[in-house]
């Protein structure tokens, strides 16, 4: 009889028959480290359903932001099931931590977390189909094999489709995980194949699949007016004037609740979003900005200078050897100041969310969120109810880039919908709202020093980092890791920091911390290389020469491999070969190198750049060598992520900044936050260095190194060092 079997430490499987003769295999992937809370088998969701017509439905459990996860996780299941991919339909799962474990789009975690459990689920279903066939034919299951979508007995003409076996398979015992053998990499038929996105056909037809496309009967639209100055409070607003505008149904204030990132402001409700948004102009709100109005990017930069000048140093957060002696004994000391600005995420689909407070007091939401479980918790907490009374549909998202890790807009629409029980409300932010209410990539300032001895060896490294005090939350996007390269690869080192007070919200932007630190560290190492008559790849190879991989560490997902110098060396050598590093390049062009390790991925990149007649940088070509483990799961998605990351990084390097002025973000739309456009697209050559490691994520690690690769190329070209982003062409004058 069907039973429940625990696969690995985390996965629970349960088989059942479905009406009409199908077979459903339910799986739960409880949160790591939490008790498994499956109250009854009926609670289990059908993760894989095999229908009598041989079609297969697979649940995509994680949110899709364009990273390809809704295609990629089902590929893992379908591979081990040995399904025919063309007969697979993917459905998005609801938000449910008890059933699915973490449902998260962020941190490039999904690939390493799911590589084994998803495949185990598929393999279990396949084993049960084979057991059903063995019973039907009266043969030993060991004599059977599968072809895509069917069980066969090689050497005979016995063959049955999965659909034909489904109802019998539902009666088979769920196999012991120890009895399951996952496929050998060489036998993969789906993994490793370039497979188009499962939603792509609907996208090209303009079908409603994004959060903002949600349409419900009787739905109204909300716009939200908040203070431009971060930290300001509301003094007054003319609600009646807004209510008198055409199409406006209501206008009311929403109180702040910092615990759930809810800011104070005014909601305007209308039967058309444009009318709601337009009516904001008649609110004439008065804000009390208090001390925060005096804050500015320029003021923070000034504070960094003062912190460096004060001579008292900062709080030391990493130290090794005797850094003072290293500098005292140095043959040469290099010193430089580096900085980078705030950045916004500007996902193409502006922040939005749809909510319906049912008459029975439960909340239903359609949420474009990278962390829908976090949003569910926040909304439940805000409303003072249990999370299971907040039903959260996960919609496809028009980009995330880390912005949608914060669920402030989910709580905001819940606060609005709470006031209008029975009426569905869709909250939409304008692009101006989006740019001025972001959780920005933190700006940062580094005073870096390097000591070099008479032999040209790097003997000391110091950094006084000026950053922001963001409190003691679980995740701090303004922190620098104590092990930031070359921390463990130089004998004497000191990192110290000074933290500035701020009300500017900050958060993770694609490749958080790395997107900024790669520029500083790889640029300054390039300075060291030039000062010692080397080039950067050579210096990187020397610093890591003969160093064994670091031992595994305990992270969010359990044990994960430590940083591996040999993997760094392999991608560095690979990209040097691809770009013909060291050989002459076209007149007026130069090459620059950058390496960075983040999200368990190793990327070495070379940029070929020139300067146009007005000293604007032009990127001609980028070579990328990446190591993200033993297998590229979907080459289509993988390449798209890398190409997108490269262009994203070049945009950050060349033209993007959010400036705080008068306590508010100055940039407001694409005219002053100029994202990359098609004409600046360089040629991009990507090669994978496969290594004997479980596959890891690709949404982020290709981005960081391209920034220093560009600025290092511009140095090679002009002899001028870019030490502040975005690149100011005046540097080259």
């Amino acid at each position: 009889m069907p039973d429940t079997v625990q696969l690995s430490r985390r996965t629970l499987l349960k088989a059942s028959a479905v009406a009409g003769g199908g077979f459903a295999l339910a799986a739960t992937f409880p949160m790591a480290g939490r008790a498994t809370a499956v109250s009854s088998p009926a609670d289990l969701n059908a993760f894989i359903t095999i229908h009598p017509d041989n079609s297969v439905t697979i649940i995509g459990k994680n949110p899709e932001i364009g990273q390809g996860i809704k295609t990629m996780l089902p590929m893992l299941i379908a591979e081990e099931l040995d399904a025919d991919w063309d007969s697979v339909t993917v459905e998005q799962g609801l938000t449910d931590a008890a059933k699915y474990g973490p449902q998260l789009a962020g941190g490039s975690f999904a690939t390493p977390m799911n590589w084994i459990p998803m495949r185990q689920a598929g393999a279990a279903a396949r084993a049960m189909l084979m057991a059903a066939a063995a019973q039907r034919w009266g043969v030993d299951a060991a004599s059977l094999a599968t072809d895509p979508g069917r069980v066969v007995q090689p050497g005979t003409n016995r063959s049955a489709t999965f659909g034909e076996l489904a109802s019998d398979a539902a009666m088979m015992a769920v196999p012991d995980p120890a009895s399951l053998t996952l496929k050998d990499q060489n036998d993969f038929r789906i993994i490793g194949r370039a497979i188009g996105g499962v939603d792509s056909p609907r996208i090209v037809r303009g079908e409603p699949i994004f959060g903002v496309d949600t349409q419900l009967d009787g739905m109204v639209y909300a716009a939200f007016e908040r203070a431009p100055v971060f930290g300001a409070t509301l003094k007054s607003a003319d609600l009646d004037a807004a209510k008198a505008q055409p199409g406006v149904i209501d206008a009311f204030t929403i109180a702040a609740n910092p615990q759930v990132q809810l800011v104070e402001g005014i909601a305007v409700i209308a039967d058309n979003w444009w009318l709601a948004n337009r009516a904001r102009a008649s609110l004439a709100p008065q804000w009390d900005a208090g001390e925060w109005e005096s804050h500015s990017s320029a003021g923070y930069a000034q504070a960094a200078q003062e912190a460096w000048k004060s001579g008292s140093g900062g709080e030391v957060f990493a130290a090794q050897g005797d850094v003072d002696a290293a500098f005292a004994d140095a043959d040469r000391v290099l010193e430089a100041e580096y900085s980078y600005p705030f950045l916004a995420h500007v996902a193409m689909e502006p922040m939005n969310c749809t909510a319906l407070m049912h008459e029975d007091g439960t909340m239903e939401m359609w949420a474009p969120s990278q962390t829908p479980q976090g949003g569910q918790q926040a909304v439940a907490g805000y409303l003072g109810m249990e999370p299971d009374r907040v039903k959260v549909h996960i919609t496809r998202m028009g980009g995330g880039f880390g912005r949608r890790l914060n669920n402030d807009y989910m709580v905001q629409v819940a606060a609005i919908a709470k006031e209008m029980p029975g009426t569905p409300v869709q909250l939409i932010w304008s692009r101006e709202d989006d740019l001025r209410s972001d959780f920005y990539r933190p700006a940062g300032w580094h005073k870096v020093r390097a000591a070099v001895d008479a032999q040209g060896t790097l003997t000391g490294w110091a950094d006084h980092f000026v950053t922001f005090d963001l409190g003691d939350g679980a995740y701090n996007p303004a922190a620098m890791p104590a092990e930031e390269f070359p921390a463990k690869y130089v004998d004497n080192l000191k990192f110290e920091q000074t933290k500035l007070a701020t009300a500017v919200p900050m958060g993770a932007l694609r490749a958080p911390t790395s997107n900024a630190l790669a520029f500083v560290m790889q640029s300054f190492l390039d300075e060291v290389a030039h000062a010692t008559g080397k080039d950067l790849p050579q210096l990187m190879l020397e610093l890591t020469d003969g160093v064994a991989p670091e031992p595994p560490t305990q992270g969010f997902m359990g044990s994960q491999p430590g940083f591996s110098a040999p993997r760094l060396q392999a991608v560095t050598r690979k990209v040097m070969e691809m770009a013909r590093w060291g050989e002459p390049v076209a007149d007026g062009h130069a090459l620059g190198f950058g390496f960075y390790y983040s999200h368990m991925g190793y990327f070495a990149e070379v940029v070929e750049a020139s300067l146009d007649s007005r000293n604007n940088p032009v990127v001609h070509k980028v070579w990328v060598a990446g190591d993200v483990g033993s297998q590229i799961i979907n080459p289509f998605g993988a390449l798209n992520q890398v190409e997108g990351s490269i262009i994203d990084g070049l945009g950050q390097a060349m033209q993007l900044a959010v400036e705080i002025e008068g306590g508010a973000a100055k940039q407001s739309n694409f005219h002053n936050y100029p994202l990359p456009r098609m004409p600046m697209t360089p040629q991009i050559d990507v090669e994978w260095v496969l290594s004997d490691n479980a596959p890891t994520g690709l949404g982020e690690p290709a981005l960081p190194p391209v920034i220093p690769a560009l600025t290092n190329a511009l140095f090679a070209l002009s002899g001028k060092r870019v030490r502040s982003l975005p690149i100011d062409r005046a540097v080259f004058a």
Binding site: S200, W273, M397, G399, F636, H671, R677, M678
Partner: protein, 157 residues
């Protein structure tokens, strides 16, 4: 006031202020949400529709200015041979990441190839530079347009 507008060959009545952008009439009045909101100021191309066959930014086109002109949207794209060829090329090359900009990209590309079936690389760049793709799928968008242009040429020849 009510406006009569022809969209995808069908006459629709829309009761909204004349300064409402066509985008919001499509999305919120008619429930045609294929046309996307990205910036609202004509800077991103997500809202691109065709007005009398030419690409137009519906976020910046007041309802009152549409008049007798024929509007077509992504929902009707597959009814044109060029639009259909581009949709197919988009799928073959798996152009998109998040996909949010792609309705606008496809509408703009269809207008381009309809007016100029054989654009140079520079012409593709110039025609498409008003369409932002935040995910930066530019290489593939460009490639898919060039492919359809090439295939069109072979058919014609």
């Amino acid at each position: 006031m009510a406006y009569r507008v022809t969209i995808n060959g069908e006459t629709r009545e829309i009761d909204a202020p004349g300064d409402m952008p066509l985008l919001w009439a499509l999305r919120n009045e008619l429930g045609m949400v294929g046309t996307k909101f990205g910036c609202g100021i004509g800077m991103c191309g997500a809202c691109t529709v065709h007005v009398d066959g030419q690409a137009a930014r519906s976020c910046s086109l007041p309802l009152s200015a549409v008049g007798e002109k024929q509007v077509s949207t992504v929902e009707a794209l597959e009814q044109t041979p060029v639009g259909q060829a581009l949709q197919e090329a988009w799928l073959e090359d798996d152009v998109m990441q998040c996909g949010y900009c792609q309705a606008g990209q496809l509408m703009n590309a269809t207008a381009l190839l309809t007016n100029n079936p054989n654009p140079s690389d520079g012409e593709i760049d110039a025609a498409m530079q008003g369409n932002i793709c935040r995910c930066a799928c530019y290489k593939r968008i460009h490639g898919a347009i060039a492919k359809v242009a090439r295939d069109g040429e072979t058919v014609d020849a």
